[in-house]
Subunit: 396 residues, 2 copies
């Protein structure tokens, strides 16, 4: 899909370099709906919440939004009361140039923690940004919010509701500080469907749970995570049937799933995308805990990097996860190749075949605990030299 | 301290190359008390326990031991019933060459998980190993149990009990799969004091809790961890006074503390030893959770490597740890340099000074939550390119 396809009826976007970080790339993005829109969101579960998270969460209570203003280079996190004021001022200035209510502006930030936003530069940039708004501007906005990301992340779904065609478009950024059980860094979902804020929120929650809350890059949770969804009704559909709602939710989940996979694939330094699947756990919670413990183990992740089916490390991670398990019942597969049966290795030949699967950029690690009936999964990536390089040098 | 000093009355040791791993280095160690000795131990909390852990834990119930046989190159973990039989056979053959009861032999293994021990080679090596036992053999034994360790780890304490001099000598190995809340990889403590097995166990538990259970290299818990202590009474002391017991426990804790620090210092790929200290947490448990979460964060550990006082990552880790905290009360120091006050950064000058402290091989990260009265600490290390290299290549 080339950039031309990333449009949604009634939405415009723009991006520019406002001087908020080093380099010539865009670092400030604006998305605008030419008509009133409903909105909902999911925010980081980190107790340390960035100012834009606090601001946007509060104003989203009204269920309405018309604009998203997002900057890279600075997370506006751990900035106290002055940071919260900066987030509010960003919304006010954006509202002024667009001629809308500040409460309809959602603010998002990503970048370095602990530094104040350069409000002078942001305020100076906003009028020009508003002037360049265009229906084709969304890919530029997706690029502007990238930090350590190596490619912009967009996904669309085209559906019909009440007989009328509509689109869901998602854009996301994120490559580090990524870990299940919160919305990930930043994700904006735009749709021209007509749908209430409550219905949006109800569609969003299970979709986030099944997608962004099932990925990890490094086990660290950001202070700035947010997933926002806004729908402007340009599709002109009337009330949605149960079937319409179900189709919308399926489409939304598909968009978030694709974006989630892109984030892990683009995980800092990552060379492999691995789908860790737990089968037949004792409880649903234990299935999730087992998947997360294996997916976050540094030793398992370096073995992925080494293309080494090192199942001893996998069993060791399961053993410390605190779940109910019997070592002698565990089966382990890499894609279709079984390497462990009843807790014992199946030998060099099986491992050799598994290592071949691990040479590819994507594979599944399937762990059957044979100790119940519940399953879960986490998408993860390998831990590489490049991850260390990126994170030892990020600020310096 | 040179190698000559690492002796304890009545203990002999030897090591040799038995062909259990690549290279010419020793990989099989034997430690022997020339008289009956009391013994106690602490074992891994990983649910997946290696065969030697299961065997030794069971036989230690009697509180007596005269020999420790330990191999590197193969962990004898995830080897099922045959592995347990191998551990038993190792004890039997060792007992036979030493003329003691198999129940008095403690077995320990470290190395690759999931492969059977080469019992032919072990059985063939044991007679020669027994013949070369010598009071000066302990440093050789410490070298034989090294895996990814870069130096052998030993520590001694000289005390007096009931007026008679005695020594505590500890030897340990471990560099990866190291994480608080279990005994770490392998640690053997020898003493010539006369003390009951119960008293040894009672002295050992709090010492392990304060030392080995307060270190992490990579957040992964081994299947083979064990700390064994044995005392042979060669010091010929009579009953111990309360003061003697207290002094012994202090000395033991000092030995384990020194060994713990050595293990973190020698953490796989590590270039920095960092003492993460939490002050004024809401509960003792939360102090421990906060210390462990910060000490295990990949982003915090790569920042250590980059000598970057990236306090935003520290606050983000605290925020996801699940403890009670108020961002606006948090103070953070690197050694004596304060970088955060009331949740806000103190600026470039303070960070520059902190970065200078971080250039050294050791520093403290002090986090004052100002939210209660409880403290805790974890020793950790940085996450480096070399860690990834070691663990991507360990088996291949």
């Amino acid at each position: 899909m080339d950039d031309q396809t990333y449009t949604v009826n009634g939405f415009k976007a723009a991006a520019m370099n406002a001087g908020l970080r080093k380099g010539d790339g865009a670092d400030l993005a604006l998305i605008f709906s030419d008509r009133p829109a409903t909105a909902a969101g999911v925010f980081t579960t980190n107790q340390v919440k960035a100012a834009p998270v606090l601001w946007t969460r509060q104003h989203l209570a009204g269920g309405k939004a018309r604009a998203i203003v997002a900057n890279a280079g600075n997370a506006n996190a751990c900035t106290g009361a002055p940071g919260l004021k900066d987030a509010g001022l960003t919304a006010e200035k954006t509202a002024a140039v667009l001629g809308i209510d500040p409460a309809e502006v959602m603010v998002a930030s990503t970048g370095v923690i602990g530094a104040r936003l350069d409000m002078e530069r942001i305020c100076a940039a906003l009028p020009a940004l508003a002037r360049t708004l265009s229906p084709e501007g969304i890919p530029e906005a997706a690029r502007a919010i990238m930090t350590t990301d190596s490619f912009p992340k967009m996904s669309t779904f085209d559906g019909r509701a009440d007989g009328r065609p509509y689109r869901i478009l998602g854009l996301a950024k994120g490559a580090g500080m990524i870990m299940p059980h919160m919305a990930t860094m930043l994700c904006f979902i735009l749709s021209d469907i007509a749908m209430s804020a409550d219905a949006l929120q109800q569609a969003l929650m299970p979709s986030v749970e099944a997608t962004f809350n099932r990925i990890t890059v490094d086990g660290d949770t950001s202070t700035n995570d947010m997933v926002l969804i806004t729908a402007n009704g340009a599709a002109q559909n009337n009330a949605l049937s149960k079937g319409d709602l179900k189709a919308f939710q399926g489409g939304l989940k598909g968009v978030l799933w694709e974006l989630s996979r892109m984030i892990v694939k683009d995980g800092e330094g990552a060379t492999k995308l691995v789908d860790v699947k737990i089968q037949n756990a004792h409880t649903p919670r234990e299935a999730a805990v087992a998947a997360r413990t294996v997916a976050n183990s540094s030793l398992v992740k370096t073995a992925f990097y080494g293309q080494d089916p090192n199942w001893g490390r996998i069993l060791a991670a399961l053993g410390r996860s605190g779940i109910h398990m019997a070592e002698s019942r565990v089966d382990i597969y890499v894609d279709d190749v079984q390497i462990v049966s009843g807790g014992l290795g199946l030998g060099a030949q099986a491992e050799k075949q598994a290592a071949v699967r691990m040479k590819g950029p994507e594979f599944a690690l399937i762990i059957d605990l044979n100790n119940g009936t519940y399953g879960d999964y986490v998408l993860t990536c390998d831990l590489t030299h490049e991850y260390v390089s990126i994170n030892a040098d990020y600020r310096t």
